[in-house]
């Protein structure tokens, strides 16, 4: 079974459990750690704030990336 990051995943958990996700997001222009600290919000909230239109597709691609790199 692949990695299961969801829109409800807290960024604090994402950064700790899936550090590779940080690079994935930064490459898309989305920064989830700043000043070395994770943001206090969920992944879904961050993606919405960053104007990601197809949130579900983004999450699928992120999970796929994390599964491949695992």
């Amino acid at each position: 079974m692949g990695t299961q990051v969801t829109p409800d995943t807290q960024i604090e958990d994402l950064v700790k459990e899936y550090p590779l996700a940080v690079g994935f997001l930064t490459r898309q222009g989305i920064r989830c750690i700043r000043c070395g600290e994770p943001l206090w919000c969920t992944l879904g909230e961050l993606l919405e704030e960053e104007g990601v239109e197809d949130l579900q597709q983004f999450i699928i691609e992120l999970n796929s990336f994390l599964t491949k790199e695992d």
Binding site: Q10, V15, V22, R27, C35, W40
Partner: protein, 507 residues
């Protein structure tokens, strides 16, 4: 390692909610956070984080203690802070070592950070007799007008991993002499240093028959942090962290008409003029860009150098970088340790890809150093063709961008063109250039230096910056005013009732 932990009363499992020696609050539902040594990846110890319930218990004690603390004369409060400084002197070595162990900065910097705590305590003791207000001449006869400064209340301090103890002390020592009580949420990456400091503060409080002056609530930002910024019992939140989070904190606190001290992101530059002392500049750049592995708010991130000296300066910086010893930060002779988390390494690598996409050329470093450990990287120099999008972003890692300029107007334009405004510096031997840089058409930062670098601020000055850095000021100068409330008083000692502006009303 065990010896360090023992001296600081750190156990295998620690409690993250405390308001005094006998006031450690436990909740069986609390989540654990494991603190890892970033140099080795090994766990150091664990902390039971604060929950909604234990945060509430800590805050109740913090608020209750304020009622008596504010009534103690400020010079007497200063004596408590004096003893905190003395206790820190006694434990400087193990606490400095723990900073290194948990955060990854080199030993000299870890010890230096504790020295900064001691220095601010000394400053605060003196300040406790100097909380001056002005007197003004009243326009009304036989009236006296003056202002006084009162304690503000229980205040919240939220700090980041990179200065896990010093930033707390900048706030807590000043706030304490001002008559405030303090609840502290440290970074979840450095909970053990906070527990150690709490033990030290507990002993000092107990020696004075006190509790609830210095308090911790270690927990997730999304739980404890959010509770603090929305808690109307905390009239002031002092937040150190990113611009993105600072905006969130600012909005939440402003909604309830609280006040904030924000110390947010930096994107600090050094201008190196054609007449600069090159050797001084190179040594400064090395410390500013590589120190703390590029994880200071004041880290030098941009060099704006005159075209005529660009090649020579670049060669010298590269040569200096080649001498940097990287490794376990507890070992003597090491100049650069690991990044704080694996995520920070990923962020750095992705930022370097972006820099290259935008025309940047990595002229030194750029790679991971897996032989040292998963969180080690090379300090990196990137020559940029222009100040592109990635250069405007603060990547919290040892990346130094090199830019060139033709005249001082262009240099100052590039310097001020980023959204952040924390620290800045110029290297020049020309008095006119230096003065222009410090003038109101020069650097737009909160800190502007000549012939010294962007990092390594002293506690005596006010620390903070402009624009997206947030505008807050901590530490020295008159920053204490942010921790107190100003009250203007007018006393009529006559038998008449004259109104201001000469108004006659019903006479």
């Amino acid at each position: 390692m065990k010896e360090i932990l023992k001296k600081l009363q750190i156990k295998d499992m620690n409690i993250g909610a405390c308001a005094g020696q006998e006031d450690w609050y436990e909740d069986p539902t609390a989540e654990e956070v494991v603190s890892y040594n970033p140099a080795t990846g090994e766990p150091i110890a664990r902390v039971l984080q604060a929950t909604e319930k234990t945060y509430g218990q800590v805050l109740n004690t913090t608020v209750e203690s304020f009622k008596s603390w504010r009534m103690m004369p400020a010079p007497k409060r200063g004596l408590v802070v004096r003893d905190l400084g003395l206790a820190l002197r006694e434990l400087k070595e193990p606490l400095g070592d723990l900073v290194t162990l948990e955060m990854g900065k080199i030993k000299a910097e870890g010890h230096g950070e504790v020295q900064e705590m001691i220095d601010i305590c000394d400053f605060a003791v003196g300040l406790s007799r100097q909380l001056y207000g002005l007197t003004m001449h009243s326009e009304r006869p036989a009236h006296r007008m003056y202002e006084q400064w009162h304690p503000l209340g229980a205040i919240g301090v939220i700090t980041a991993f990179n200065f896990p103890v010093a930033v707390w002390s900048w706030n807590a020592a000043i706030a304490a002499v001002c008559g405030d009580t303090v609840v502290w949420k440290p970074s979840s990456d450095t909970p053990l240093t906070a527990v150690a400091v709490q033990h030290i503060a507990n002993k000092v409080m107990a020696d004075h028959g006190l509790k609830g002056i210095f308090n911790i609530s270690i927990g997730r930002g999304s739980i404890v942090g959010e509770r603090m910024i929305n808690d109307s019992r905390l009239p002031l939140i002092s937040f150190t962290g990113s611009t993105r989070m600072g905006r969130r904190v600012s909005e939440a606190v402003a909604r309830r008409f609280g006040s904030t001290i924000l110390e947010l992101g930096g994107n600090n530059a050094i201008i190196v003029a054609e007449d600069a002392d090159m050797d001084m500049a190179v040594r400064t750049i090395l410390f500013g860009a590589v120190g703390t592995a590029g994880q200071r708010c004041t880290t030098t991130r941009r060099i704006i150098m005159h075209k005529s000296i660009a090649k020579e300066l670049t060669d010298k910086i590269v040569k200096a970088y080649q001498q940097v010893a990287i490794g376990n930060p507890l070992q003597d002779g090491i100049l650069m340790g690991p990044l704080v988390t694996k995520g920070a390494v990923e962020d750095m690598m992705a930022a370097l890809e972006k820099a290259e996409e935008q025309g940047g050329k990595v002229i030194y470093g750029g790679k991971r150093l897996p032989d040292h450990g998963e969180q080690f990287v090379e300090p990196t120099i990137v020559k940029m063709p222009a100040q592109t999008e990635i250069v405007h972003i603060e990547t919290f890692a040892p990346i130094l961008y090199l830019l060139e300029y033709e005249d001082i107007e262009e240099a100052i334009y590039l310097h001020n063109e980023v959204p952040q405004g924390l620290s800045s510096a110029i290297f020049t031997t020309n008095l006119l250039t230096a003065e222009r840089y410090l003038s109101h058409e020069g650097s737009d930062c909160g800190i502007a230096n000549v012939n010294i670098g962007t990092s390594g601020a002293e506690i005596g000055g006010a620390f903070g910056g402009e624009k997206e850095t947030g505008g807050g000021r901590e530490s020295g100068s008159d920053s204490w005013k942010g921790y107190m409330r100003r009250q203007t008083n007018t006393i009529n000692w006559s038998k008449e009732l004259p109104l201001a502006q000469g108004i006659k009303f019903g006479d």
